[in-house]
Assembly symmetry: C2
Homo-oligomer: 139 residues x 2
């Protein structure tokens, strides 16, 4: 069933675990899919011994992509038209991320409405790793 405007109200929140125990393999898959082969994300030796990080870490866009998947699953195909935000903390292998969308406003127009969301993705320690906004057209 597609989401309908009458199913939504301001303040309503939708929350999904978008990844449970992120693996290095998923980060490598994202490198392949995006073409972003920066070794900080895929080369443990480079990340730790050369760059001084505790381990490799996820591309910010992977976190944003998994958050975007929660949004498109929630609002339905072809309805998400705006999405953006800030990368506020690193995401590491082993992290479990929960992404949430909270309705901030609904603008009704004839047959459809534009719904605005506040978006936040948190890790298992409740630290926000991505926060932003999204907008969707709902019939």
């Amino acid at each position: 069933m597609a989401l309908r405007t009458e199913d939504l109200h301001v303040g309503q929140s939708h929350e999904v675990v978008v990844v449970d125990n992120l693996t290095r393999t998923q980060i490598v898959q994202y490198a392949g899919a995006s073409g972003d082969y920066n070794p900080l994300h895929t080369d443990e030796i480079f990340a730790t011994q050369v760059a001084g990080y505790p381990s490799v870490f996820a591309h910010g866009m992977l976190t944003m992509g998994m958050t975007g998947r929660m949004l498109t699953d929630y609002v339905g195909d072809g309805r998400l038209f705006g999405f953006g935000g800030r990368f506020t903390n690193q995401v590491w292998p082993g992290d479990t991320l929960t992404a949430s969308a909270t309705v901030t406003s609904i603008e009704q127009r004839d047959e459809s409405s534009t719904v605005f969301f506040e978006v936040a993705t948190r890790n298992q320690d409740n630290v926000i790793v991505f926060s932003g906004t999204a907008s969707a057209r709902i019939d």
Copy 2:
């Protein structure tokens, strides 16, 4: 060489072909990496015969991810802190996408500066498929 504030001025533009002839395989790779297995993106029969599209098409977040790669390659690791925009047109297999970032303002603060960009990604017909903004901290 990392990008420096003195290398930048308002109105300056940076443009990169982020994908030349997008393949269905790259879309499938993105499905695997993001976990977004909506068959509109990967199942030709479903996309054409059930959903009525001319073919499968890319996830909006793949377009955004490739655009984000241009940005992080340009500004340098760990410096992109904000990124968002609108999905304005579908991206199809065979498309060639060119992403550009144009400096809109530079806020100098002590040792570093915050640089704001207007971002646009166009297909081979010069149609904008994604447009937005980004911000980065540059030393």
